[in-house]
């Protein structure tokens, strides 16, 4: 029963991604080309040291989590902007499982990247956990935004602006809304206090997105 359901969702996701053509590869280009190139440049500049590690961590959190939302948004393009999309809602009452599956698929790619990094740096699995949680936040946020704004471009712009504000501005509110970590050293305690609320908010976004999906046409 569960396997059958999984296989159905997998097939639908495969077709959804086929429908977006080259847009599917954008996150992979960032993960497997842009990030490694940036990181190699950092290592060449600083060598394999703590300073380089901090810069690399910052680069990873700049690019990796947001790309998860890219996949979520483009995979469900037809559900938001397709002509006659209501016919999809007749048969599909929820896409939460699909979003979670996309998130897991994205996490597999992050894992591959982290396995490579683990040869050079210690503590990389703490970074992995951090990126995994941030990616969950972006995936669920994208899911919510899609049904809130009913537009894939506005949804991605909103998420992008959020990231820009959090990473590059220093308003008073930024420290409360940002899910990103500053340059402070990585430790489990900091991870837990910062990320448990992020997980809770992400789950809340998934719940809200699901509610909005159900009332999308009303």
């Amino acid at each position: 029963m569960y396997i059958k359901r999984f296989l159905i969702i997998k097939k639908q996701l495969y077709l959804n991604f086929r429908n977006v053509k080259g847009f599917y590869y954008i996150p992979l280009v960032f993960l497997y080309i842009v990030l490694p190139v940036l990181n190699i440049a950092t290592i060449r500049q600083y060598g394999v040291c703590e300073n380089a590690f901090t810069i690399i961590c910052n680069d990873i959190q700049k690019f990796a989590p947001i790309m998860c939302s890219w996949w979520v948004i483009f995979a469900f393009k037809e559900y938001i902007e397709g002509d006659g999309c209501e016919v999809l809602y007749v048969y599909k009452k929820s896409i939460v499982l699909d979003v979670i599956l996309i998130y897991i698929w994205y996490l597999i790619h992050i894992t591959i990247l982290m396995i490579v990094y683990s040869f050079y740096f210690t503590n990389i699995w703490l970074i992995f956990m951090r990126i995994a949680i941030q990616s969950l936040f972006f995936a669920s946020g994208a899911y919510l935004c899609m049904f809130l704004f009913k537009s894939i471009s506005i949804s991605f712009m909103f998420i992008f602006v959020y990231e820009i504000i959090c990473l590059f501005t220093n308003f008073g509110i930024t420290k409360y809304i940002s899910i990103f970590h500053s340059n402070s050293p990585i430790n489990i305690r900091l991870m837990v206090t910062k990320n448990i609320p992020v997980i809770i908010i992400s789950l809340f976004f998934l719940y809200l997105g699901n509610r909005l999906h159900k009332v999308y046409l009303k």
Binding site: I8, L15, D83, G84
Partner: protein
């Protein structure tokens, strides 16, 4: 049997469905009404897309929303243009998974539906390469995929050329056994050919339902062919329909509750529909 019982749906201040009650047995039903009459709202409610404010819709005594058989409903929306970058086969595969059609049946089912809309030779072409009429036909194919018990077509013949319209009517007559098919359209001609029953809606109300003959009989002795020259002499409330030329003489088809100075002719379904809406 599909039962719509006291269905009411309100959008802000507008009553889109106003206490609609009807039982539909297997057959082909035409749904007529002016724009904003509530046809699409009714069809979306039957599909489970809109929850009703009051009343309920049941299929075989089970609430339509609780009906777990996903493939029991086929729906063609007014606009249809999904998955432009997929091939016809892939798009149909997507709908097959949505309708939970078993893997082993998918290929046959898909090919069968595509054949019914005469697009089998283009089954591996991308949707983006098809004409508007062809996309509409794909929409029809996805609606009949999985042999659903209820099929709802919202303006199915929009954008179809005469040959494609004929093909659609043939498809309906081939698949109509053991099914409830509801066709909403403005083209009365399509309904005349395909439907055995007609429902007419206006202002969210189901004002009349009955057989084709019954609907046309509502305009009995209310349809006249009048010389165009006598147009100014028409009495009371009237509606001017087609303007034609018979034996080099311009004549107008007039619908009116009052007797007019012209030849009374046999009414059509369209005449019946107009008489109902105009209150003749």
């Amino acid at each position: 049997m599909l039962k719509i019982i006291n269905a009411c749906k309100q959008f802000k201040n507008k009553k889109a469905l106003d206490n609609i009650t009807i039982n539909l047995e297997n057959g082909v039903y035409g749904l007529l009404g002016p724009n904003g009459a509530g046809k699409t709202t009714l069809m979306r409610s039957v599909c489970g897309l809109y929850p009703l404010n009051t009343g309920k819709i049941t299929f075989n005594d089970l609430d339509i929303k609780q009906n777990k058989r996903l493939n029991s409903i086929g729906y063609l929306p007014q606009k249809f243009g999904l998955f432009n970058e997929l091939t016809i086969y892939e798009m149909m595969e997507y709908f097959a998974t949505l309708k939970h059609i078993a893997n082993k049946d998918q290929k046959n089912d898909i090919e069968n539906c595509i054949e019914r809309v005469n697009l089998l030779d283009r089954i591996h072409d991308k949707i983006s390469t098809l004409s508007g009429g062809m996309v509409r036909r794909i929409g029809i194919a996805q609606a009949i995929l999985g042999n659903p018990r209820i099929i709802i077509f919202d303006e199915p013949t929009v954008g179809l050329d005469p040959e494609e319209r004929m093909c659609f009517k043939n498809t309906i007559s081939q698949i109509k056994e053991d099914k409830i098919i509801i066709i909403s359209t403005h083209v009365v001609e399509d309904i005349e050919a395909s439907c055995s029953n007609i429902m007419i809606m206006n202002n969210g109300k189901l004002i009349v339902s009955g057989s084709n003959n019954y609907i046309s009989s509502l305009a009995k002795e209310k349809v006249y062919l009048v010389d165009a020259e006598n147009e100014k002499q028409l009495k009371g409330d009237f509606f001017i329909g087609k303007r034609t030329s018979i034996e080099n003489k311009d004549v107008i088809r007039v619908l009116s509750g009052e007797k007019q100075n012209g030849k009374s002719v046999k009414p059509t379904i369209e005449d019946g529909y107009i008489c109902i809406l105009k209150g003749f």
